[in-house]
């Protein structure tokens, strides 16, 4: 773990000095701002029962599906394509430290981008006054915790291919299955068969959109937190095993 912070600080520094990071940030803020202004139109035209936070976090899957692959697709793929991963691993650095460093940097940027949207709510508070902060805290907590899992999924996808585009598409597919596929599978009539009850339970347990619904209402379920944390650990471990498998066979 000695070298983890070295790798992490280097990765973050590279991110912060890279113009594409700022371009991504500007585009992200424009898209989210556009969605937020659409929400404001709704709230100014008629009273709404749904809190602003719940409304805002309802669009969560859309930016995540595109943002995570873009943030993570080059993390391991690029190192492997350039042949720098093997070089890096000849130094006294473990695969675990490399993966964790890449993951930490991508997660840092992810959180930074989402944290910038808190300014929307600050402005809303300034202009429109008080509202319940419970759903707001819950929503951002969900973003932080689920981000661990999603970023780890992206890192895992990146560890599977040398090609950035393939890694990105793979990550998008995995996230799509996780976010929307589970929701679709959960509604299948086939799962109502009593023999498939354990599968139904597992699918219901992994309903990301339902978790989002809970958190954005201000409800924090510790089991859901555990699901995301353990999921992120599993994906990171798979990434390590994936990289090591590639090294063995390279």
């Amino acid at each position: 773990m000695r070298h983890f912070l070295t790798i992490l600080s280097h990765e973050i520094r590279m991110l912060l000095v890279n113009p594409s990071t700022y371009i991504a940030g500007v585009l992200f803020l424009i898209v989210m701002g556009f969605m937020f202004t659409g929400m404001l139109e709704e709230y100014s035209s008629a009273p709404q029962e749904i809190s602003p936070a719940s409304y805002f976090f309802g669009v969560f899957p859309l930016p995540v599906l595109f943002m995570i692959p873009l943030l993570t697709m080059k993390s391991i793929s690029e190192e492997r394509r350039n042949g720098t991963l093997e070089t890096l691993l000849t130094t006294p650095v473990t695969t675990f430290e490399v993966i964790l460093g890449k993951f930490g940097a991508a997660y840092f940027l992810y959180i930074l981008l989402w944290a910038s949207t808190t300014a929307f709510f600050y402005l809303l508070h300034r202009f429109a006054g008080d509202f319940d902060t419970g759903p707001l805290i819950g929503g951002y907590l969900f973003i932080a915790v689920s981000g661990l899992f999603f970023i780890a999924t992206g890192i895992f996808a990146s560890s599977l291919s040398r090609n950035q585009a393939v890694s990105g598409i793979l990550c998008f597919t995995m996230l799509f299955i996780l976010l929307l596929g589970m929701h679709f599978v959960g509604g299948l009539e086939t799962l109502k068969n009593p023999a498939l009850a354990p599968i139904k339970t597992a699918v219901e347990y992994a309903q990301v959109l339902q978790h989002l619904g809970d958190f954005s209402r201000g409800i924090v379920d510790v089991r859901q937190l555990l699901f995301y944390v353990s999921g992120s650990v599993l994906c990171l471990l798979f990434s390590i095993l994936g990289v090591e498998a590639k090294l063995i066979h390279s």
Partner: protein
């Protein structure tokens, strides 16, 4: 070099090792999350008023749940009606809390005693709809062979036709208690005097009402007091409510005495629907004992807008009472067919333990025709007439209270609701306007249903931006351009610094 000592063998050995590690991690992940589903790790409500948490009372009941309860929701997830869509959201979110609360077994609740929820579209799944006799836009609770439906109207409290509070938790907890308890409330319909038949599907029949009561988990029986000679008093047979629905011939004195004793000595509950034209009713002494009088009049009202196109009386004057609360909140009127006056008896012997309440009144232009058998209706001196402050009452309730075991509060020892019309609950009229609301509210009050719960309603908060056009434009530009510009500015500074 032999194969076991070769690099290739070492490579495959290490690969196998990695695959096994992957399987180990995967099983660890699955096992950990499986354990999480079996243990109560906690669920915290961060909202200001903990508005998504179940009340302690509900939690207490759920902790003592003894058998599984299945909930079937037939509300549509998406609808053109915004109220229906919102109702789906409110109901599904609340039911999720019930499901969570029963997911992990407790010392007092077996592992099988869980609440499960299914969402069924009655149009897409007609077989299921037929199997469970599902109505649209309802929430059905099933446990064993017991069922109770909660309709959309029971879920909200209205004020000025706007939803003011969500009553879902109270309704659902009551329904769960109802279907999971071994006791079923019994209703006896009186027969033998030309009363409306609960099983008849004719317009004058009560099959709609019967189905509604069965859906609400009541056991329905009929009884002819003249033949039975007594009102059942054995546990499991004792009526929780007796209904006399539109008798066309008078009750015998001994039948009246049976009903009087049932009310006074057995804390009985009686619902009487007595339309005009029957005089005497045979229940005069009973009514007098309970401080009521059923006038031998026929209510007419010839002012414009006082009648529906079918000639039914439109009634919208309500006195405040638990029974009329929902009608007042929803601002719904009633449509009665032929009606007579039921009002507090002006000559009743004062009784401090008895309270009599008028519930529904006719408009000030209505009158009670005494000579209704002779000629066309026309107000004449001697007819009953209401005033602006004292309208003619058509529905009244009476109850007797008694102190219990030196406790500082009183408990009801008998309740009676008398309606001056029997038409409004028949198949042709039950679902006209607020008729069913009045009946169900009276029923709930009579049998104390759901009133033992003190689950507070959830106030519906609405958020609206009260910004001027100018402020809204400023806010929009701040969001769309201000923040991205700040990020771009930061990027340019970094870029410029790096170039130098």
């Amino acid at each position: 070099m032999s194969f076991p000592n070769s690099f290739r063998a070492a490579r495959w050995l290490r690969t196998t090792n990695l695959v096994l590690q992957a399987l180990l991690f995967l099983s660890f992940f699955a096992g950990l999350n499986y354990l999480a589903t079996q243990l109560d790790f906690g669920r915290f409500d961060l909202t200001r008023l903990r508005q998504h948490s179940l009340s302690e009372e509900t939690r207490g009941y759920l902790d003592r749940l003894k058998q599984p309860v299945r909930v079937i929701v037939t509300l549509p997830e998406k609808s053109d009606d915004a109220n229906l869509t919102q109702a789906f959201v409110d109901v599904s979110e609340l039911l999720r809390e019930y499901v969570y609360a029963t997911e992990t077994p407790t010392p007092t609740r077996p592992a099988t005693a869980r609440i499960s929820v299914d969402y069924i579209d009655v149009y897409q799944r007609p077989a299921d709809a037929a199997q469970y006799e599902l109505q649209k836009d309802t929430v059905l609770f099933l446990s064993g062979d017991r069922r109770r439906e909660v309709s959309l109207g029971e879920l909200y409290k209205f004020k000025d036709k706007q939803r003011e509070a969500f009553l879902g938790e109270q309704a659902f907890t009551a329904a769960i208690l109802d279907v999971s308890s071994t006791e079923q409330k019994k209703i006896y319909f009186l027969t033998g005097h030309g009363e409306a038949d609960p099983l008849s599907t004719t317009p004058r029949g009560l099959s709609e009402l019967y189905a509604n009561l069965r859906a609400k988990n009541y056991a329905i029986n009929t009884i002819d007091l003249a033949r039975a000679g007594k009102i059942p008093d054995q546990p499991g047979e004792k009526p929780d409510l007796i209904i006399s629905a539109g008798a066309t011939s008078r009750y015998e004195p001994f039948e009246q005495e049976l009903l009087r004793k049932y009310l006074s000595e057995n804390a009985g509950r009686l619902m009487v629907f007595v339309g005009p034209g029957l005089n005497p009713t045979g229940l005069e002494d009973l009514f007098y004992d309970w401080g009521l009088i059923a006038d031998d009049v026929w209510i007419f009202d010839n002012s414009p807008g006082a009648q529906t196109d079918t000639g039914a009386l439109i009634l919208s004057g309500y006195w405040p009472h638990e029974i009329t609360k929902l009608l007042i909140e929803s601002n719904e009127f009633l449509a009665f067919g032929s009606a007579r006056s039921i009002r507090p008896h002006p000559g009743a012997v004062p009784d401090p333990s008895r309270s009599v309440s008028k519930l529904v009144g006719a408009s000030v232009t209505a009158w009670g025709e005494r000579s209704y058998t002779r000629g066309p209706p026309q107000f004449s001196p001697g007819d009953l007439r209401g005033t602006k402050d004292n309208e003619i009452a058509l529905v009244a309730a009476a109850e007797r209270l008694a102190a219990k075991d030196n406790l500082p509060f009183s408990v009801p020892v008998g309740r009676l609701v008398a309606f001056g019309s029997a038409d409004f609950i028949n198949n042709a009229n039950l679902f006209q306007r607020g008729n069913s609301i009045l009946f169900i509210s009276a029923l709930n009050w009579l049998v104390d249903r759901d009133t033992q719960l003190s689950v507070p309603p959830r106030k519906i908060d609405k958020f609206q931006l009260s910004l001027s056009r100018q402020e809204l434009v400023r806010l929009r530009y701040s969001l769309l351009f201000g923040l991205p510009a700040a990020a771009a500015f930061l990027g340019i500074i970094v870029y410029w610094t790096r170039r130098r």
